[in-house]
């Protein structure tokens, strides 16, 4: 019948379009969207900060150390002021409300004083990279600088980069006492659980002060 022809043609055309669309969608979702990882750069992204670099503390009569005010990691382009962080009412570590700044946990030693100083920052926001986005690129020997309220500079050298499941976070290793001036930089990493909106792991960069 002549009237069937336009309908049939439409059905064929529409069917092919739907097949094409379905196949395209299928192919696109077969490829997982890769993490936004930047190309690794070997050249320092920022110059080292200037300032009088102080020697690490002596165990006899250590001088009091001024509070930290900023953090610079030249190799991965991190330059951030340091806000202060405490504990939540649940006893967990507070995190910065901005994903663009890092914070020093005031319940930990000051960077450059004897002990394990703790600095944390977000790896990302809901939409893009955060201040500690490239933290996992750091390797042994990389330099980290903390400027203090009195204008002095403490220089640290990365000694280790570890990833821990949050369920098995090694509290003693990260927050426990140490005999030299050390820094621990913490951010999130590992797999992201979309159901809860949280990363499953923490990345911890350990660094020791150098003279």
């Amino acid at each position: 019948m002549p009237t069937r022809r336009p309908a049939a043609t439409f059905a064929l055309a529409a069917g092919l379009v739907v097949i094409a669309g379905g196949t395209t969608g299928l192919l696109l979702t077969r490829h997982p969207a890769l993490a936004m990882r930047p190309a690794a750069v070997g050249v320092a992204a920022l110059p080292a900060p200037t300032g009088p670099i102080v020697a690490p503390p002596q165990s006899t009569a250590p001088k009091p150390v001024a509070a930290p005010v900023s953090l610079t990691i030249p190799l991965i382009g991190v330059r951030t002021q340091l806000i202060t962080l405490g504990l939540t009412s649940a006893g967990e570590l507070q995190v910065p409300s901005s994903t663009a700044v890092a914070g020093w946990f005031t319940g930990s030693p000051r960077p450059g004083a004897i002990g394990s100083a703790i600095i944390v920052g977000h790896i990302d926001s809901l939409s893009g990279p955060g201040v500690f986005y490239r933290l996992s690129e750091l390797t042994v020997g990389d330099k980290v600088y903390v400027k203090r309220a009195d204008g002095t500079l403490a220089e640290f050298r990365v000694t280790s980069v570890q990833t821990y499941l949050k369920d098995r976070f090694p509290t003693e290793d990260v927050y426990g006492p140490v005999p030299d001036a050390e820094l621990r930089l913490i951010t999130c990493g590992g797999a992201f659980d979309a159901a809860t909106g949280h990363y499953l792991s923490n990345i911890v960069v350990y660094a020791t002060e150098v003279s």
Binding site: M1, A7, A8, T9, A11, L12, A14, G15, L16, V17, V18, I19, G21, G22, T23, G25, L26, T29, H31, P32, A33, A35, S59, T60, L87, A90, G91, E92, L93, T99, F105, P109, G115, S116, V120, L126, G128, P129, G130, Y133, S160, V161, T163, Y164, D167, T171, E172, Y175, P177, V178, P179, D180, C188, A191, F192, G197, Y199, S201, N202, I203
Partner: protein, 285 residues
Amino acid sequence: MNFRDAIRNLLMLLGVSALLLGIPAATAYASSATTGTGWIRLAHLSPNTPAVDVYLYSFGNSNAMIVLHHVAYGTVSPYESVPAGDYSVAMRAAGASATSQPVLSTSVTIAAGHAYTVAGMGPESGLRLQVLEDQLTTAPGQAEVRVIQASLKQQVVTVTLGSTVLASGLKFASVSDYQPVSPGTQSVTVSSSGGDTHSSVTLAAGTVHTLVVLDGASGLEVVNLEDASGSGKPPLGGVSTGFGGTAPHGPGSPVPWLVAIGAGSLLALTGGLRLRRDRQLNTGI
């Protein structure tokens, strides 16, 4: 294209899609080996022994890893971070040749994550090198303290911190055990047959200290060494420092797409068959 070609192309597309369904998402994150290092510091705590040069050798190595020159009584070096392993410590008279026979030597095994003090202790006539392991943990919210008695003039001392007795009748060249104490600034009293000496120390929560009783210029002195420091009240668990904006998205469910392809195929088939029949009827096949 004709109907048969359309079906063939569709099947090819479906076949390719099926292949791609099997590709897994690869994820990797960086981690590096844990450092196997420990810490060691060197001390001269023999009141009547002149200054010494102190050498640290890693086992089997005749070249010293660390040399401290002219270390006088009462000196405690800062901690050095060294690879875990076996070492030897030697003391020579200050200025003596590095190849001369040491006055004293001892071996020490440094375990990863542990800290040690190697101290020249005792009177000069009975000088010995003692290896002390230093504590690196505190009870939650507390500080930890021990006493090294290095006074020869007052052979026996009792040391109290506030109202806590840290060491009772501690003999010369002895070390008390670490004890947990409440944090804060408190007065330290060293009592001996020569009288009492008072001073004040501040011990923060999460810190480990060694108080050393020394013969000072005019009576006993107390030196407060901070052995280690950490968070007095550590946070619980991990840290929530990410929102997922840069996280990889896993492959979505293929089901809705397969349903769409199926529906589209049915629609195309129906239309195609109708057109075919229509053409057959019209051309009288």
